[in-house]
Assembly symmetry: C2
Homo-oligomer: 384 residues x 2
């Protein structure tokens, strides 16, 4: 096992009718920024629940945060937060709203001229406005981590930052808030969570059996519960299980003491930045090609995954790995998520365009830092 | 899934040579109490490592904390902490030293006359001196939770308390510090951790598949790594895996949203209070009888445990449950831990004495609160 540090102070409040806990959690906040996305929380009753819970608090609203939250909107909100002396940001929605909240919280306390530096890594933030969240879409794990991903559409960039200052103070997870999600959102969330686990699990790292099994616990549960949620997302226990899987998939625990990969995400972010494709859908087309291309490097773990998750024990290593990848694709497809690059209907030369962007980075991708432009082309075109 | 709250702000610093991180973690503490047990940390080099790390800090030592830490010693230390204006307690040792640190931290800030009230639950503490720990014996999980168990030998009591104010601020876990443990300590730690998982897993609660698998992940890893550690406890990876299992077994995550039992512990604490038997060894003789006695109530989970952990799929429910219990006993025995009550060599009428103490409590034990004195006798005597 590698040396590691683990710290995660987020208070999770999970279950039915837990939005009513908000007043206790907000304590004596003086001026709250209530941040949300489009109108979905007004349709599913969450907005009304939050407004009721905020009765007696001084708050203002800022809405319109997009999926893949945009830098420009965030900056508008930073101006508002500064003008209004906001001392707490309450994010209500999915991971995009919460990622925006984290960036706004950090940028509002940042003294420099160019908050984009927070995302490029040029500066390390030293403080942030405290954040809380009401999560309505299980997917990104943002509710229990210190990560945020922001898109800057004007220059076609999508970058992430992480800082202990942007851990949500609390996250309220009421599975009933997910009952109004579309099948597409449910499927995206399941695949996103699944691949968050894979990024920490499917490496050449061997010898951390607890972390492997903690990862497999989530993968198995998503495979078991996911298809039920696609049939109907009104079963409380199914939604609760998926929601808790999603949080556990990216709260840092799985990555303790092991190597991590994140090449699928690295390539996926470029694909979303260029073509605006749903995050999860980029991951689902990249992952199969990546594992096929890196089958030797990841052989031992791919075989373990095949055996423990899919019961694949017959055939030589190549056959078993092919079957493990095929079963993974079938699972994604059963949820309605395409797994072939050609299904995306984007430019013929998209792999080359993405590769060019990857080559411009100062670092290579993957657990072994061996993924640059040429490898990206092979992965996306499924070449050897 | 049941509604739940989860909050665990302990900073884990895990790995080789991590005691050198102490100065950074202690920041600008003014007066540190360095708390430890007997002489073992002087023999294995941990004492010297800590003294070196504390160079430049103002600190005093308090040693002599026993296994099953005693109330009287803790009170001596409270007097010292108050006299010396201690603003941080550094626990160096196993769970007993850390449990003592938690109680001392709370009692030092308690205004009332009788700190025992903290343990009886008469008062809820409102503050405590901050604590940090260097863990040298994986077993209790105290390094990543807010629980403490204190014995009061003069009246033969052993009680627990829990408070968010006594979460360690940090816990340093260096697996190399466990290389000098005796086989008995290693075995006790493995069984203690295993049964911590069982207390949260082996209930009649069904429908939280992620938590079940997170529990099974630890059980399987302990079964795999435990015997290796008994052969030799100088294999870094084996010790690291056991240490991380032990922390994960009782950091609160497994118990999220599920019913919990803790009857084995409730009975075990009485046995230790009366006869001074090692905590883990009391659990190992109680658990088989408890599961046999409650086989109907826990049937579904016992069958799941038998199948997923031990591969037991043949036979009717009773046969499979008997086999699952037998395999559990064989595992404990393979580590050198007895599983029959008669092996303990205590009074013939010990079950009745323990039952009498259980009957004096204001609450019944177990997930269904259906374990009182008469049931304890049946469990310990393996009667139906």
């Amino acid at each position: 096992m590698k040396n590691f540090k683990y710290y995660n102070p987020v208070k999770i409040v999970f279950g039915k009718n837990t939005i009513t806990e908000l007043p206790k959690l907000l304590k004596s906040r003086k001026k709250i920024l209530f941040l949300y996305g489009g109108g979905s929380i007004k349709k599913n009753g969450v907005y009304d629940q939050v407004i009721e819970a905020l009765s007696g608090f001084d708050f203002i609203e800022f809405s319109g945060i997009q999926a893949n939250p945009d830098y420009a909107s965030c900056l508008d909100c930073v101006l508002l937060a500064e003008k209004e002396n906001i001392d707490f940001i309450l994010s209500v929605g999915g991971g995009s709203v919460l990622d925006a909240a984290k960036f706004i919280a950090a940028a509002s306390c940042y003294e420099g001229d160019e908050p984009w530096d927070i995302l490029t890594g040029k500066v390390k933030i030293q403080k942030a406005i405290p954040i809380g969240s009401v999560l309505t879409l299980p997917a990104t794990g943002s509710e229990m981590n210190s990560n945020s991903v922001i898109s800057r559409r004007e220059i076609g960039e999508k970058l992430a930052f992480s800082s202990p200052f942007v851990y949500p103070e609390f996250s309220i997870l009421d599975p009933e808030t997910t009952f109004s999600l579309s099948k597409r959102q449910v499927a995206n969330g399941i695949v996103d969570s699944f691949i968050h686990v894979c990024e920490q699990y499917m490496t050449s790292h061997i010898g951390s059996p607890l972390q492997d099994r903690q990862s497999e616990a989530i993968l198995k549960t998503l495979i078991e519960e996911g298809p039920k949620a696609i049939l109907s997302n009104k079963d409380y226990d199914v939604q609760a299980n998926i929601m808790w899987c999603s949080t556990n998939a990216l709260n840092g625990l799985l990555g303790c003491g092991v190597d991590q990969d994140w090449a699928t995400h690295g390539i996926g972010h470029e694909m979303t930045a260029l073509y605006g494709i749903d995050h999860a859908r980029t991951l689902a087309v990249i992952l199969p090609g990546l594992y096929s291309y890196l089958r030797e490097q990841k052989e031992e773990k791919l075989l373990q995954y095949g055996e423990r998750i899919w019961g694949i024990t017959m055939g030589d290593a190549n056959v078993r790995i092919d079957e493990a990848i095929a079963r993974t694709c079938l699972f994604f497809e059963s949820l309605g998520i395409d797994t072939r690059y050609s299904d995306l209907g984007i430019d013929e030369d998209a792999p080359e365009k993405i590769a060019e962007r990857i080559d411009k980075k100062s670092y290579a991708l993957g657990e072994k830092q061996n993924i640059r432009g040429p490898e990206v082309i092979k992965i996306l075109r499924n070449l050897k």
